[in-house]
Amino acid sequence: MGSSLPPKEANLFKVIVKSYETKQYKKGLKAADSILKKFPEHGETLSMKGLTLNCMDRKSEAYELVRRGLKNDLKSHVCWHVYGLLYRSDREYREAIKCYRNALRIDPDNIEILRDLSLLQAQMRDLSGFVETRQQLLSLKPNHRMNWIGFAVAHHLNSNSSKAIEVLEAYEGTLEDDYPPDNERYEHSEMLLYKISLFEECGMLDRALEEMQKKESKIVDKLSFKEQMASVLFKLGRFDESESIYRSLLFMNPDNYKYFIAVQKCLGLYSDNGQYSADDVERLSALYNSLKEKYAWSSAVKRIPLDFLEGDKFQEAADIYVRPLLTKGVPSLFSDLSPLYEHPGKANILEQLFLKIEDSIRTSGCFPGSPQKEPPSTLLWTMFLISQHYDRRGQYEIALNKIDEAISHTPTVIDLYSVKGKILQHAGNFAAAAALADEARSMDLADRYLNSECVMQMLQADQGEKVMCVGVNVNSNAEFNSMKGMVGLAEKTAVLFTKDGDQHNNLHDMQCMWYELASGESYFRQDQFDFHSYCLRKMTLRAYVSMLKFQDRLHAHEYFHKAAAGAIRCYMKLHDSPSKSSTEENDEMSKLPPAQRKKLRQKQKKAEARAKREAEEKQEDETASSNSSKSGKKQNARPVDLDPHGEKLVQIEDPLAEATKYLKLLQNNSSSSLETHILSFELNMRKQKVLLAFQAVKQLIKLDENNPDSHRCLIKFFHKINSLPTPGTDSEKLICNVLEAERPDIRDNVLGLVNEWQIQDCIDVHKLLETVFGDQDVANRWKARCAEYFPYSTYFEGIKSAIAAYIVDHSLDNSPENGIAPNPQLKSEGEIGTLNGTVHIVDDLSSLSIR
């Protein structure tokens, strides 16, 4: 390094390198400049200066200098290495790898470059390259533990677990007998556990067991050791031994559901679908009764039996379970119980139970049959629970009355307002839901969850502007900033699609998720990068590997699914109503009444001003942080979003092609989701790919033939193909033949009665009638019917949608939540079933179109 320089300058060069490593950038810069005074074209110095400037946030200069340095000294590995580092800092990992490879061509045994390269290979999942690099590192420095472990992990990631084991054993062979020394016991123990998990992974269960017995004294993490032991014994079929270990684990933590399930499995008492024979239920009850005696404080031991018990026994167990939680006041009680509503009959039992409890507390102040006086809050939490219960069952009227009662009992409990907002949302009044969410937010300004919830509700109610107000009022925290970002996006969309499109609500909602996720993902990637070396150093190998696997599975994650679905919808929307040029936009605006136009303009202006302000603030932040960069603590400031309103994103040439990309990801990763196929259907219909659309319909029917959405797609599909022109080309004829051949199958399969009508389904049906069939008369009749059943729905303009606007007045002089007269109770679920009567309209239509 710096060898071509005279001694004095060579020393200065060393200073640059050292200053860079110790983050004393100013000092490094000075040294570089004094070399360059004498040798203005010295390549390595130019490169190092560039690298130093890069850390001081002078990016464009940095690239220029590094490139010039490289040009002047193509044979220097330093220049190539620096170029790679520069790319790496901008997360251009592929380019960085190329640079490292060039550097290694010049200096093949440079440990530092090899190490950097290996990290990048792990990051980019170039696994065979990773193995190679790791091998080279090991042969260069076999006395470093980290190199052995790195080599083993590389093999493991490259799906060669047995090779990884060999490496680890070879490494152990190099150790003294009395290894490890006291200060490395934990690291060594992690290595052993890692090796054992490798044995287990390749099915070498006996070896795993043997190893565990031999090395038990050297393993520090006793909990993991026990879990591993129990798991291996279970896989070996030694259920008794496994069970007794799981029981001892329960002793350590009697609220870990995994342990309970494992004990059940050891006893042959576990079924994935939760179905048990009467005999099994008997045995399970006995098991949990005995566990309950041992672990009286565990809530898991009381909750799990609710899943398998039925009838009276279920009621009894549920009673025992909910009482202390109502006394204590656990707001999440309902979400804890909500999975039980999927079980037939349990909802009714719970309803009776809750009502009995409420009645008893009202009359005597005690639980049924108990002499113990309950605190006043028990009634509140009981009403809270009952309200959520009726909400879950779609009886919104009762739910609202109950929650209002709870609010007048104790008007200070924030959860009550949140739940009331949710009920109104489910009942179809988004504006009122947003008002309630905002009220809840106002009651604890420091609660981020409430902020987010409120923003979500407002977005659903298309109140982008209000969201901004909330944003300004609330302390800027990370979530909120990202939310502001997405609101900018949502607002832009609102301007673009001035007309209220369908999916509009969803659009807002989804697009934000997508936005958040995008930034979330990039953060995650960055984090992961730091982990590569950290984990190897700290030997937290098992966590490391599972983290990498998680990352690889990320695309199957629920949020990714949601986000991708949202993106696809956006693109389809863009296709349906292409963005307007500015003149058109103006036209659009001139159509609006003047007051609204003014508002819109103001909104745009405000948005622009805000964007400007934010950009300035960011810049200030950056200068501030670069000033403080001497301390080296500066976190990489996020680059300013060049496209804060998603304008470029929206002006895309072929939205359907973009949508197809996302769809492919969804099809690969979540093919069992109904939504994936619905999207595929919608997309392919737009692309006129009839057969692909048909495939999607078939998938839908296979997954759930009674789903209203499946049904809807089918109707749309046949409606479409009936209106296709007579086939002209051969391929069109072929398509036609295929469809004819498949038709009878489909007809027999579908058109089952829909069991439960959700408001969204009814809205969809209405849209279908209105747009696809264009039958305004039937659509209006449908709407009138729905308005009766969903009186709170603003979409159907139900009678209570207006009263229930619930404008929240923060001055509070007449709080509306107490002021609404009690409404006549909604008829029970059975009556909603009569909606099926009207379904025939649709069924008739669909069969018409099939014929």
Binding site: P375, P376, S377, H409, T410, P411, T412, L812, S815
Partner: protein, 230 residues
Amino acid sequence: LAGRPTTPEREGQPEAETPPPCSRRTQPLKLRRGRERPGRRRTGAVREGGSARMGAGEGEVSASKAKGGGAVERTSLDGVRDKNVMQLKKLNTALFPVRYNDKYYQDAIASKDFSKLAYYSDICVGAIACRLEKKEGGAVRVYIMTLGVLAPYRGLGIGTKLLNHVFDLSAKQNISELYLHVQTNNDDAIAFYKKFGFEITQTIHNYYMNITPPDCYVLTKFIGQAATKK
């Protein structure tokens, strides 16, 4: 015991009743100026408040004895801040038939530890709101603007706890005078405060408008350095 105290700050008190504006000179202690401007008068305000105040004094004592310390253990106090002031507003809406203006809330927040929200197993169920006033000669006194507990949570000793808190704090800061207003027919509240050493020091005629009787008592308690009772 909602509104047990006093319906203090009943709007509409005559201008003449406000204390001399001596406190204007008092920057160092950051005291508030005199009491609020007279506001709107509301009919029937105290009537409703009166019924809500039923069962104040004695009810409280006997009930809190019956329930033992358990309820008090479930109770904790927290300060009033701009982040949670909405809780106080919600309480007042439920407890008093009067709307308090912004100054009331500013005063409550500014009184720092003298105004407190009472939480019963993490639910906000009551509050005491005070204002610090500077008298002629520089001495400070505490004016209790409101004290109240939501109806379902009365009789648990929560009001007592709030009041005792203010006594203790006053003693610590060498404040020897506390006062408040009560409508003259609110026997329960008067009895309650007498139990804590308050005495009627003045009667103000026509303090309230549109309600009968329109008169109020000023109840005052002087405390020495000694600790509070209870």
